[in-house]
């Protein structure tokens, strides 16, 4: 049975790690929910407005497109390194692969994702 100890320890630790953190903070947190206590800072100027600083969503769209085309290079690298030995079949495969991505880009373009709003 000792073999199994490792598995249990793993789970127990995982559980304690996850649940324990929440539980501890719940147990030891002081509960004085006065408006003052709920302020981010107890002294100084009262905060005004949201503390969130937001990017324009346009950035997100670019980021999304970038991520996708960035990942594409993983495959292009692997293919490029072995280009010579892989031969025509891999070349055709890669053309299809890029074509599919281009359709995606075409779609994004058509939908207006590339225009700055």
């Amino acid at each position: 049975m000792s073999d199994w100890a490792g598995v249990f320890i793993f789970f127990v630790v995982a559980l304690i790690f996850g649940a324990g953190g929440i539980a501890t903070s719940f147990l030891i947190q002081p509960r004085r929910d006065t408006p003052l206590k709920l302020e981010p800072y107890e002294c100084g100027m009262p905060t005004q407005g949201s503390t969130w600083i937001q990017f324009k969503t346009g950035y997100f769209l670019y980021a999304l497109l970038f991520v996708i085309f960035d990942v594409e290079t993983i495959y292009l690298y692997a293919w490029a390194v072995k280009f010579q030995s892989l031969g025509l079949f891999a070349f055709i495969e890669m053309i299809i692969f890029v074509f599919i991505l281009i359709v995606g880009l075409w779609y994004a373009w058509k939908e207006g994702a590339l225009e700055w709003q």
Binding site: F17, G18, A19, G21, I22, T57, V67, I68, D70, I74
Partner: protein, 104 residues
Amino acid sequence: MLTISLTHYVVLSALLFSIGLFGVLTKRNAVAVLICIEIMLNAVNINLVAFSKYITPIDFTGQIFSLFVITVAAAEVGIGLAIIIAIYRNKLSVNLDDFDWLKW
């Protein structure tokens, strides 16, 4: 002298996985949860690469697998961010605690 063995990688991966899990459980921000899931996936990648190196050093099965995992993770992040934008437009919040319309 300490040599780095497979065990170290596996332990690292397990730790990373647990950290990611902890984040998923505790973070209130949807983007942060998404990031934590990525951490879990990266734990998987570490496993894959380590196993590939130590157990099947001749073929690169694990490494190729990890490439696919990375790709899929990227797609997941892409979709996740897009949804988060949409949900922000709906609710003006990305706090997961606010997403409990659907229950019971």
